[in-house]
């Protein structure tokens, strides 16, 4: 009898709470997605909130994948209006979106982000190629003695890889597998470096899984250290340990240029100019995606995208450049801005 009344009471409370809070219309834009785009998106949101009559958008840093999961959940006030991404939307994500009724999506490319391999200012600057970085960090590398075979990574110091490099131990602090920065690093450095070996390149066609395992698995013997998502912490650790290198976004190098320096990769110094000219090899485009069905339902979406794509925000002299985002070339900016203004869907 007691159990019965307990159930009854809890059922009653549940109905009370659920009817008491009917879904209210939302008056602020809701944005989710990549932690790489977060600093730029928030800067625009703040500017937008202060200079317009709309409320300041709410921005959650969920990671690119997590953002799309929420974004593609459906249409309606309980789902986000905009998703930030540090890579283009995947086909599988598009399918999820369509399946849940999110059909018209506007893609907005906003600029570039460079990924740097940096060490402390107190140490000597390093000149590396992507092949050397691959050899330093892959779990299994091509055997120098037997062509076409893999062995567990034998390299202890940078000198082992290339006699011109210093004889310091390989020690690289980088992001964990959940991070978008890690994905981008693997794709642009590890895979690109591995493809310098012809037989690995051939594998990408013949045996996709083996190719993935060979290129995307990082060392687990202590040479590659997962240092968490916090890039500030990596910068601090590099200062304490001049022998170590760290992998992080360009904006952190930009903010801490008095204590850390970026390694020269393929002859290119990671500078604002080199990345925006597309010369620095490790850079990726950043995006945000707008749900077209929400425009005119949630106030201010059009105005927010207009603010984001205005010259004073994303231009070479804009405030996003001050935050470390690398702007696109003039022509591309013009093109994207025009597409956004006309709400061209994907």
């Amino acid at each position: 009898m007691n159990v019965k009344s307990l159930f009854l009471a809890s059922a009653l409370t549940m109905t009370l709470v659920s009817t008491g809070t009917a879904m209210a219309a939302r008056d602020a834009i809701s944005i989710v997605g990549s932690s790489t785009v977060y600093p730029f998106s928030t800067a625009v949101a703040e500017q937008f909130g202060k200079t317009s009559n709309f409320k300041t958008p709410k921005i959650e840093s969920t990671g690119t994948g997590g953002g799309f999961k929420l974004f593609c959940g459906g249409v309606g006030v309980s789902f986000p209006d905009i998703s930030n991404a540090s890579r283009a939307i995947k086909d599988s994500e598009k399918e999820t979106c369509t399946a849940n009724g999110v059909k018209d999506i506007v893609e907005v490319k906003i600029g570039y982000d460079g990924i740097v391999l940096a060490n402390a200012k107190t140490a000597a600057p390093m000149k590396l190629t992507r092949k050397e970085i691959y050899l330093a960090l892959a779990k299994e590398v091509p055997d120098a003695a037997h062509a076409g075979k893999f062995i567990a990574n034998p390299y202890k110091t940078w000198k082992d890889i290339n006699p011109e490099l210093p004889a310091t131990a390989i020690e690289v602090l980088g992001p964990p597998p959940t991070s978008g920065t890690r994905d981008a690093f693997v794709e642009m450095v590890m895979v690109a470096g591995a493809e310098k070996f012809d037989f690995i390149k051939a594998m990408s066609k013949s045996d996709k899984n083996a190719f993935k395992a060979a290129t995307e698995t990082l060392r687990e013997d202590g040479a590659y250290i997962e240092a968490g998502e916090n890039d500030n912490l990596i910068v601090q650790k590099l200062q304490a340990n001049p022998k170590a290198f760290g992998i992080f976004g360009f904006s952190f190098l930009d903010q801490n240029a008095d204590v850390v320096q970026g390694a020269v990769i393929e002859g290119e110094v990671p500078t604002f100019e080199a990345i925006s000219a597309g010369k620095y090899p490790v850079s990726r485009p950043l995006f945000f995606y707008v749900k077209k069905a929400h425009i005119d339902v949630i106030p201010g979406i059009k105005e927010f995208t207009a603010e984001f794509t205005s010259e004073k925000a994303w231009g070479p002299e804009g405030y996003l450049a001050d935050k470390g985002m690398i702007p696109m070339p003039d022509a591309e900016r013009k093109q994207v801005a025009a597409d956004v203004a006309s709400l061209k869907t994907m």
């Binding site: 928030t42 909130g49 202060k50 709410k58 840093s61 008095d258």
Partner: protein, 427 residues
Amino acid sequence: MATENKQTMKPFSVHMNKDLQRRYRAEKRFQRCGIAAIAIALSFLALLFASIIGSGYTAFRQTFIELDVHFSEDLFKDENLAAADYAGLIKQALRTAFPEVKERRALKSLYMLVSPGAAFSLQDMVKEDSRLIGSRQKIWVPANDDVDMLIKGQMKATEAEADRRLKDDQLGWIGQLEKDGKLETRFNTTFFTSGDSREPELAGIWGAVKGSFYSLLITLLLSFPIGVAAAVYLEEFAPKNFWTDIIEVNINNLAAVPSIIFGLLGLAIFINFWGLPRSTPLVGGLVLTLMTLPVIIIAGRASLKSVPPSIREAALGIGASKMQMVTHHVLPLAMPGMLTGAIIGMARALGDTAPLLMIGMVAFIVDIPGGFTDSATALPVQIYLWADSSERAFTEKTSAAIMVLLAFLICMNAAAVIMRKKFETKW
């Protein structure tokens, strides 16, 4: 005499002395271990406090620059005061202060000395008092975070120019401002009165504090009555049978469940099933209620148990009903213990971020929440977000926010101790 005495008692006393000494030694060792344990714990605590306060105390001060702003009438022709070009006013004032700067790039780096928030503070001033228009005012505006870092000595001015955020000409201007007494550090009120911002010099904790306050209010309003009612029923009325045993095991289990799981539960039930709005103190409070409830129930039952049975028997003996016995006698005596449990549970809820991660309270929210259904963050979440920001000035802001959170926690725990000391009944 003494030797003789010793000799006569030898077989027994030597043995006993040895044993006694051994036991004394053991006790001393044990005590020393205890003291060492406390010393280690205290030194870790001291280290924590020293590092947080050492890197955070500077955040309570902020560098300001004095500008001679001319609110010229031409700029305020429009009826709408918000439409005036306040950033232009600041730029003009900077140009008047340094008339020798002409070139476009140099002007841009000159404008960088002042925080982008300065224009908004001018806007607020004009909104408050429109008589300012047409006048000339000396106004202190916040400096940019790079200038602030330099003045506080957290940025090296000795590095090569290319590696510094502040260039040589900017350092020159800062030096001149300092010489003229137009640059000083003051108490940073913004830190306590504003919401989050991407500009470190404009960022504050008030939004997060209010978010935490609303969440905890909901938590307290729900978990305390429910917790006390559950504890009283289980302890005083419930029959001792299989079902109540199961409930007890489950409550004890829940108290040990990692808090992220409550976040997942909150996401599934409160947001996806009930359709409550994401990122709001309402949902945050509900999730924290789930987390705090077991703690309050367990503490409540323990304090009910500590009320001696003689009180109950006496009450029943003079003809009180069972409910009268509980409400008139047992509950008042157990209340201090229950309140202590509630405060400790609330302190844990105040410091927890993991459950809030799942329900969207880890977000950039500038507007200060005005109610339970406005988007909000919480104090520990704000710390987490700032710790992840690339601007150097956020490091000290992070530590300062930790100090504020610690101050709240110390207050709450001290209140629990004081309450226990004051109302505790000794039997």
